[in-house]
């Protein structure tokens, strides 16, 4: 095996407070039947990486439930496979034994596992960037360039929302990082923005983690990369495919709607040859449309029952839209029930939500109305 994978499941929880109240960012439902982590795990598996560690922090019950033994991603293996690494705290925990808040600190807390890895390379990814990427190509370019670490970037036109949350990389024509800016509020124009995916030599990773423990470093970008631009070789890999970074609840809504209306974006995620996205198999029945149902321009998972009208919406598995109900511009998660004669617009309902008969609910695209898990309206 050439490479191992590390997934950070919690890093961006605070960006989506509504959806991560009971779960990690990794297990936020997306695109009718997936969770964010499905894209990362499928990318690993489709790139022949079968030794994967998921670093957790808190709220990881739903994540463990989703992953199970890993067999739905072909990751139930005798050697390798998927491992969930719970937070490492000793029995003598005190105030200095705090949980991590950055990737580097997370790696420090699992350094005991890093030492046991046999693969030469490690691919690290967060869960908030949705894309269907071939890691093998990234690894090959990384090896050929002789870099210590290669970060995947995408060239985009900067705007306020990007500079608030992202890291901008400045590289020379050979792709070597010359400078980087974390959340640069004063930058404009086209720039290479990090996708929080990187390939790193395993020995180098071990070394910087050990070094960071000794120095008390916390940030990979500020403390490791910036301080060692000359000493080590940090490269970028420009990803040319489509991707969506979910930085906020509004982003979540926008990119979900983009799945419906932007065919190119949808096909880049779901129709890449030999690179399907896997998810937990629920054995749902096919979706049933009744007489009088009217669905248009929507993405609908299995296990739904549609009797009413559905337009421009995303229905997760097991959603029921009753007679004379109208669902417009909505994202309805697993097992949402929409009662008779109700009308809902720009609503995001979490798992198991119930919308009573005759309810009229409307949000706006910039501020969708959110119904939390198990809530009845």
């Amino acid at each position: 095996m050439l490479a191992a994978g590390i997934v950070f499941s919690n890093i961006h929880d605070s960006n989506l407070p509504e959806l991560t109240k009971n779960r990690t960012v990794a297990s936020v439902p997306f695109g009718c039947r997936y969770r964010f982590i499905d894209f990362a795990l499928s990318n690993f598996v489709n790139s022949n990486i079968f030794n994967i560690m998921v670093i957790t922090h808190y709220n990881y019950q739903s994540l463990m439930d989703h992953i199970g033994s890993g067999k739905d991603w072909d990751l139930a293996r005798r050697s390798g496979g998927i491992k969930i690494l719970p937070p490492f705290i000793t029995a003598h925990a005190n105030h200095t034994n705090e949980l991590y808040s950055s990737r580097l600190e997370a790696l420090k807390s699992v350094s005991y596992v890093l030492k046991r890895l046999k693969e030469d390379y490690v691919v690290m990814t967060d869960c908030d960037v949705i894309c269907n990427i071939d890691f093998e190509d990234v690894i090959n370019k990384h090896i050929r360039s002789g870099a210590d670490m290669t970060t995947v970037v995408k060239s985009v036109e900067l705007n306020e929302r990007i500079t608030e949350a992202d890291t901008v990389y400045i590289a020379n024509e050979k792709g070597r990082v010359k400078d980087l800016y974390v959340n640069p509020s004063n930058m404009h124009g086209k720039a290479d923005v990090g996708l929080n995916i990187s390939v790193i030599n395993r020995r180098f990773l071990e070394m910087i983690v050990t070094d960071s423990i000794a120095h008390g470093y916390a940030s990979m970008e500020r403390d490791v990369i910036l301080k060692n631009l000359e000493k080590y070789k940090f490269n970028i890999y420009r990803y040319s495919g489509r991707s969506a970074r979910i930085r906020s609840f509004e982003d979540y809504f926008t990119h979900s709607m983009q799945l419906i209306n932007d065919h190119e974006f949808r096909n880049s995620l779901f129709s890449e040859k030999n690179r399907p996205i896997y998810t937990k198999v629920r054995n749902s029945v096919p979706t049933k449309y009744m007489i009088g149902s009217a669905a248009t321009n929507s993405l609908i998972a299995d296990g739904c029952v549609v009797e009413g009208t559905v337009e421009n919406s995303i229905l997760f598995r097991g959603v029921k839209v009753s007679r004379n109900a109208t669902v417009r511009n909505c994202i309805l998660m697993q097992e949402t029930y929409v009662g008779e004669n109700s009308y809902i617009n720009c609503v995001v309902s979490d798992k198991n939500a119930t919308i009573r008969d005759g309810r009229l609910l409307s949000g706006a695209p910039e501020l969708p109305y959110y119904i939390s898990k198990d809530q009845t309206v």
Binding site: F270, V285, K288, I291, T296, L299, I300, D302, V305
Partner: protein, 399 residues
């Protein structure tokens, strides 16, 4: 290491299903697709796991590739067990020659060693040809309570249908007094469903005896059951009241699929207490486009619908282009129906491509036949296939 089991199930899945014609050209009948994302064998296998029976031997013979691959290690049904689980049992070459399975009884006889490994008290014999949900454990309890040697599940059919089945004539206590195979003048309407529970000792004894009888056709219905009755064994009928359908013909397969539709479907797949499991391939959610209209239908993951779909069952990955019209039809996986095609009262098998403005089948009437397009057939634009026609693998559009 094998774990002792109370009951081992033997699932007869070697049938050709010749009356399904082109649909079973390349697959055995139990592997014929059904209900959007299932295959027929999912029903007995799911029944087994839901009934707590987790040792299942699947006897295959005819065109086993698709079936063997589908069953695999049994993981979709939770039958990938360490000490038992599902096991595919094909005919094999032995020291004294090689034999195909000569009949249903011979198939079990050739695999007595499989049964003996688990040292069960009871053996459940099933067939992979039917669509139904049944709790075998209730039947087994009934068998144990009555201290029976053999229990046969029966369905109450109408008198007019009864002469198509094996009929059990019983006393008031459901003890079987007489068995008649397809009687001209049936005395009762208890039709055998081909589901048997045997005491393992008696089953072994009769199978061995039957094997040494050269005149026997080694069949449960024709030989074993009559011989057991003649031998005075305690045999009971177990009445079953639910939905049960032999999908052995094009018409019955079509009907069974349509029985899934509507508010109160004759056969309910949406049963949380009795889930049907199947092997899932990864597909994105299905998409209903701007110009689409779907009514009274089942649509599965991976479909992309821009046309009109009514009273139909669409399997995964079907693409229906703009202006296409599908009615009263079953469209299996990965079929493409191009612009402005019309499909009426038809079954389209996997991976077909139906060209633009094709007309397949005619509006369903009382005496019109079902049109069938065999797997992988590519129809050019504007082809017209009339009602009741059947295109098999030898058909080509340049005739």
């Amino acid at each position: 290491m094998y774990k002792k089991q109370q009951c081992v199930a033997m699932l007869l899945a070697g049938g050709q299903g010749s009356r399904l014609y082109t649909l079973t050209e390349k697959t055995a009948k139990p592997a014929v697709p059904f209900g959007g994302k299932y295959r027929i064998i999912d029903f007995p296998l799911s029944n087994c796991i839901n009934s707590g029976i987790n040792t299942v031997g699947v006897l295959t013979q005819y065109q086993p590739l698709v079936l063997n691959e589908y069953i695999g290690n049994g993981q979709p049904w939770d039958l990938d067990r360490a000490w038992n689980g599902v096991m595919v049992l094909p005919p094999y070459q032995g020291k004294n020659g090689a034999d195909w399975y000569k009949g249903t009884a011979n198939a079990i006889f050739q695999n007595l060693d499989f049964i003996r490994r688990y040292d069960p008290e009871y053996v459940l014999v099933l067939s992979g040809d039917h669509i139904y949900k049944m709790d075998y454990s209730a039947m087994l309890s009934d068998h144990i309570r009555r201290k029976a040697d053999c229990t046969i599940a029966v369905l109450n059919v109408s008198l007019s249908e009864a002469s198509r089945f094996g009929i059990m004539n019983t006393d008031e206590d459901m003890r079987i007094l007489e068995f008649e195979e397809k009687p001209e003048k049936p005395k009762s309407t208890n039709a055998s469903m081909g589901i048997y529970v045997f005491n393992r000792d008696q089953l072994e004894k009769y199978l061995i005896e039957d094997e040494s009888d050269p005149s026997s056709s080694n069949d449960f219905g024709k030989n074993i059951i009559p011989k057991m009755l003649a031998g005075g064994l305690k045999m009971y009928a177990y009445p079953f009241n639910g939905y049960w359908k032999d999908v052995g013909t094009i018409e019955s397969l079509w009907e069974a699929n349509m029985d899934l539709l509507g508010h109160r479907p004759k056969f309910n797949l949406y049963d949380e207490n009795w889930r049907i499991f199947s092997r899932n391939t990864p597909h994105p959610p299905h998409r209903i486009g701007n110009s689409a209209s779907v009514s009274n239908s089942l649509i599965t993951e991976g479909c992309d619908i821009e046309g009109i779909v009514e009273n139909s069952v669409l399997f995964s990955g079907v693409r229906v282009e703009k202006g296409a019209y599908i009615r009263d039809s079953i469209i299996m996986s990965d079929v493409v129906i191009k612009k402005s095609g019309t499909i009426n009262y038809s079954i389209i098998d996997e991976k077909c491509v139906i060209g633009e403005k094709c007309v397949i089948g005619r509006t369903k009437t009382a005496d019109s036949g079902i049109t069938v397009i065999g797997a992988g057939i590519v129809l050019d634009d504007g082809v017209d296939i009339s009602a009741g026609e059947m295109l098999g693998s030898k058909w080509n559009s340049n005739r």
